[in-house]
């Protein structure tokens, strides 16, 4: 039994090393929104909804353990995040009704995905205070999600309608860059942003190791 617990803990730590990263949060949160980011406005609105849901979920994962026991933490966090997703949907309907109707259920799905990515990354295992995402990590992930979805929407609109914000596609529509306007191209954009986020994560981790080495 002790051996199994040790193996289980080692496996959990390996999984944790993959999901407790900004990259995982950005990729998991942005995926549902890629399908709906058909214009710059749609992509930016989806990105904003995902960003707010990531920040709210990060705040809730820190508040919930203060008043909820281990058994209740996940359902309480899910319930509170669901209320946030509903309120975000109301806000989108009030501010941009036409876009809200065009996007349908996608904003709610994107919010749920953003919140789930934070829950998976931060909850479930014992987490020392120093191991949690910092405010910089959360804001960076939120901004990256906005960039991904807005960029996908911008390129899709540019290549399918021929122009965006007065800028014409011109010869781009007939070049190989046109793939970025398709669904598969959206995944390529997500992959590019994920690489950049992962690179900042490695350089940030490297800087932290360097500081610890100096202190030692």
């Amino acid at each position: 039994m002790a051996l199994n617990e040790t193996i289980a803990r080692a496996q959990d730590l390996r999984v944790r090393s993959m999901v407790h990263t900004r990259t995982f949060v950005v990729v998991a949160a942005s995926l549902p929104g890629l399908a709906a980011a058909s214009t710059l406005v749609n992509g930016a609105l989806m990105g904003a909804a995902v960003a707010v849901s990531i920040v709210c979920a990060a705040i809730l994962t820190r508040l919930v353990p203060r008043f909820a026991g281990r058994v209740a933490q996940v359902p309480v966090a899910l319930m509170l995040n669901a209320v946030v997703a509903i309120l975000l949907g109301f806000a989108l309907r009030a501010v941009e009704p036409v876009a809200h109707q065009a996007l349908g259920l996608y904003p709610v799905l994107a919010c749920a995905s953003g919140m789930a990515s934070i829950l998976v990354a931060e909850m479930g295992l014992e987490t020392a205070e120093g191991e949690r995402f910092t405010a910089v990590d959360i804001v960076f992930a939120a901004v990256s999600a906005v960039v991904v979805l807005a960029a996908c929407g911008c390129l899709t609109e540019l290549l399918f309608t021929g122009q965006v914000l007065g800028v014409a596609a011109g010869p781009l529509a007939n070049s190989s860059i046109a793939i970025f306007g398709k669904s598969s191209g959206s995944l390529l954009i997500l992959a590019l942003v994920a690489i950049i986020v992962q690179a900042t994560e490695r350089s940030h981790a490297g800087a932290e190791d360097g500081k610890e080495g100096e202190r030692a």
Binding site: V76, V83, L87
Partner: protein, 201 residues
């Protein structure tokens, strides 16, 4: 020393209580009520904003359909609609063409159409706004082909699918879709009457 021991004991009691079934149940019930209450309050508080949003959606949808009828028009402005039963709204383009949002009783509820009439009094096009006619039967009178048959027709007089009386013009209905054909013709008559009242013909 005794105070730190009692602090740790009380912390342990609190932790055990938080993990208890009754505490968990009460917490979930309270949060469910709070969450539902917040969502309901937000829905009530934003009622006015939602109504404005729905109006904006209708306007955007209508704008797209008006652009289909008159693709060369750069802008439309809403004008005061005459008091005619079945007439919902009247829009005028920058070049003097009109778009009438009208509805008449079909087989299953009203058939609402958007009918464009040019400044010189000819039917420019018809767009379907809302209908609930029987698929494959009533909808045969709402096909692009049937609606296009009214294009370039003079927007005067009264149309009928029955035998024309004095002052009436007979038009063909769709066999098996009499109610819907009658609704389409009724919509056209409302649009013709409104066109005459807003200054056309």
């Amino acid at each position: 020393m005794p105070s730190s021991k009692s602090n740790s004991q009380s912390a342990g009691r609190i932790a055990r209580a938080k993990n208890g079934a009754i505490y968990t149940l009460v917490l979930l019930l309270v949060l469910t009520g709070v969450g539902a209450g917040v969502a309901a309050l937000a829905n009530v508080g934003l009622y006015g904003a939602f109504k404005a949003s729905d109006a904006a959606i209708e306007e955007d949808k209508g704008g797209a359909q008006r652009a289909l009828i008159f693709p060369d028009a750069t802008s439309f402005e809403q004008v005061k609609a005459p008091d005619i039963e079945g007439l919902n709204s009247v829009w005028k383009s920058d070049v003097g063409d009109f778009v009438f949002d009208v509805q008449s009783a079909g087989y299953h509820g009203d058939v609402e159409l958007m009918i464009g009439i040019t400044a010189d009094g000819k039917v420019a096009g018809i767009q379907i706004v809302a209908e609930d006619e029987t698929e494959g039967i009533g909808t045969n009178a709402l096909t692009d082909e049937y609606l296009a048959s009214f294009k370039d027709m003079e927007a005067t007089g009264t149309l009928t699918v029955k035998e024309a009386g004095s002052g009436e013009t007979h038009v063909d209905g769709v066999s098996g879709a009499t109610f819907t054909s009658t609704a389409v013709v009724g919509d056209l008559n409302i649009a013709f009457e409104a066109f005459a009242e807003v200054g056309g013909n």
